[in-house]
Structures are given as C-alpha cells and as structure tokens.
C-alpha cells in the first residue's frame, strides 16, 4: 500500500470526494511514518546523541568498494593502516622502523602505532554513558504510565463490589477455612484449628 496516486486523464473526473480523502489520509500517514523513522534514527544513531553518550563519531564518508579501516575488537589487523598518506616526518619514521626496533624511542613506537591504528584496545572497549539515558527513559515512561493509571482510578473506574470490603473478606476467609478449602498445601494448612489462629 504505498501512496501512489492513480493515473489521471485530464478530461475525465476519475477521483470522487471519498477517494481524494483516502489519498490525503494515505499521504499524511506516509508523512507521519517518515517523521517517526527520522525521529528514531536521530534519537538512536544520530551523531549528536552518540557523541553526548561519549562514543567516538567519525566525520568521513564511507566508500565501501575500497578496503576499509575499522576499529573492531574481533579484527586485530584491519585491511589497511589508519594513516595512508604519510608526510615527510612520518616517512622518515617508517624508514627507521625498517631497522632494529630496539633503537626506537617510546614516543616513536607510540607514533608508529598511531600511524597503523586509530584506537587502542582500551579505547575501543571503553564503555559509554548510553545506559543512563536508557534507564532514564524507562523510568520516565513508567512514571508516565503510573500517572495515567492513577488518573484512571480517580476519574474512570467505578466502585469495587461489596465482596471486596474488609468485613466480607474476613467472613469469606472464615468460610473457606470452615469448608476446608485446599487442605493439602493451601490455605487450610496455614490455619491452626485448635488454637483458632494462623500458624
């Protein structure tokens, strides 16, 4: 069911009033669905939301026909190094790397690492603050539901039957004990018939 309109001949009135109303309804439904989808996308995977949660956000455009660099815990060696085009200083460092590694300083080793990889394993597996938003939203909706239920109890529901009054329930319980309902494992086993009290 999309929102395609039927083909129209210019000289023939093909749509009646009911049909045009239906088309308007379908169009507005499609608009609403599109808004909802966009809203959901913005909320869940939008860059501002992800950044607010403390996750890393990349600004580049992906060309998936080329080998990609990826920061993945289960892929220790991505297809390409992180920095493809080296400046002069980085090229010198790469030349030095071809020699014995014991001659490299700590800073040079770190620089070489950062040339091949964007993030360390520690940075990749860092947790985010998303859970706070999730818990907050859950509590918010629970609270809202509570408000709705309370309003319903006040303004919508009628009186409960007389059989739920304290007095009736007491008489009812006494009757259930007198007729020994559920005497194997149920209510009658919790009443002490000699002492006339609950066990």
């Amino acid at each position: 069911m999309g929102n395609e309109t039927p083909a129209r001949l210019p000289h023939v009135r093909t749509t009646s009033r009911a049909q045009s109303l239906k088309l308007k309804m379908l169009a507005s439904q499609a608009v609403m669905r599109g808004l909802q989808r966009g809203l959901w996308r913005a909320l869940s995977t939008g860059r501002c939301v992800q950044a607010a949660h403390g996750k890393e956000v990349s600004a580049d455009v992906l060309d998936c026909s080329q080998p990609q660099y990826c920061n993945r815990l289960d892929t220790p060696l991505p297809d390409i190094p992180f920095v493809r085009s080296l400046n002069a200083e980085q090229k010198k460092l790469k030349e030095k790397e071809k020699g014995p590694w014991t001659k490299l300083t700590k800073e040079e080793k770190l620089a070489l690492y950062r040339l091949s990889y964007e993030l360390t394993y520690a940075e990749m597996s860092k947790s985010s603050n998303e859970w706070k938003t999730v818990i907050g939203a859950i509590l918010y909706f629970l609270g809202f539901t509570g408000l709705v239920v309370w309003w319903q109890r006040l303004y919508v529901y009628g009186d409960v039957p007389q059989t739920l009054s304290q007095e009736w329930v007491e008489k009812q319980t006494k009757r259930m004990l007198d007729m020994r309902t559920n005497p194997v494992q149920g209510i009658s086993t919790h009443w002490d018939y000699e002492k006339n009290q609950w066990k």
Partner: protein, 230 residues
Amino acid sequence: MATPLQLGFQDAASPVMEELVHFHDHALMVVYLISSFVLYIIITLVMMKLTNKHAHDSQEIEIVWTVLPAIILIVVALPSLRILYLMDEINNPHLTVKAIGHQWYWSYEYTDYKDLSFDSYMTPTQDLTPGQFRLLEVDHRMVVPTESPIRVLITADDVIHSWTVPSMGVKMDAVPGRLNQTTFIPSRPGVYYGQCSEICGANHSFMPIVIEAVPLKHFEDWSTSMLEFT
C-alpha cells in the same frame, strides 16, 4: 476454590488430579532446567569477550543437541502417556449425572433411579449473604457421593459451553448435538467450584459449576429431598 493471587493449581480432590499435579511438578522441573541453561548460554554469549569468526562445523555438538532433546522428550512423554491411559481406564461408575449447558446456566439430571432434574443458576452478587463467593455460588449445587466413580454426560442446549471443575481435574466441552463423557472420583468431601470454559455469549462468565461431595448417606438424603421438592 482458588485463593487470591494464587499461581499454582488448587489442591487435588480426585486421584487423577493428584497424578496431574505430580506430572506438572515433574514437567516444570524439566522446563526450569532447560530455561536456566538457555538463560546461562544467552548471558554468556552477551558478556563474552572472545570471538571466533571462522567456525565451520562441529559434529560432536550437533550429535549432543539432537540426542539430548530426544531424551528429554522421552522423559516428559512417558509419564504423560501413563496418565493419559490412566484417565481412560474402565471404572464402572456408581452414578451417572447429565450436565446440560444453556445460555446461561447449567442443568443437571440424575436419572439412574428416578427422574431428578434441576437448574443451577449463579447467585447474583447483590443476593449473596456475607461470606459467599462472588460469581461462584449457585442456587442448586450438583451433589455427588464421595469415593465413588461418577460418570458425567455433558451436552448443551444452544451454543458450545464447557463443564469444568479444576480441583477434580475435569474439563469437557458441552457441544450441542453431541454427548461427551467424563468421569471423576471425589476423594474427600467438600465444595468444589468451576466456571464455564467456552465463550457462550454475554453471561459466559456468570454460569459457574459447583460440586458438593458428601458421604453416600447424605447424598441419598439430598436426592430424596430434591425429588420431593421438584
């Protein structure tokens, strides 16, 4: 009858229901085992840091997860079939009662010796005396003798109803134009409640079934007095 917020079965009032309760305990234990195992697997999957992207096949685990469910099914099926055949054993009932469903009441006929028949309407809530159970009490209960196999022939006058007493472990549809038979043995005296279990119109929730199981002497007194009354 059930107590408020009750989750499990009512206590059994017949031998078949006792068997069903024990079987349910057994099957539920199997279900708990499987569910907790699956829950453990799911949590482990989610929390696991190791990844293997290159698994192809594994004959050993495939054999295990084919044979083990078969064994579990047999462990559940054998007691289940035992009870199924137990329920169908020949048992020579001492009494036959006909329960006929109408919109919206039950009528009972005891026609073994004399013709005794009466209707059983729900007591309306405003007519209850304090202590009676709302939506469960009826004006005329179905009285049966204890420790005797009772045969119940169930049918309906108009639409499909269903005659059930959970504590006896009995439920049978009342189908117009058809006679369904079920039997039960009340193990102990008492009053046992049930409710119509097939949607049958506006007052489907308001046509309960009440069985009063009494010693044989009391049953004979009751049937005599009912014959005089009706």
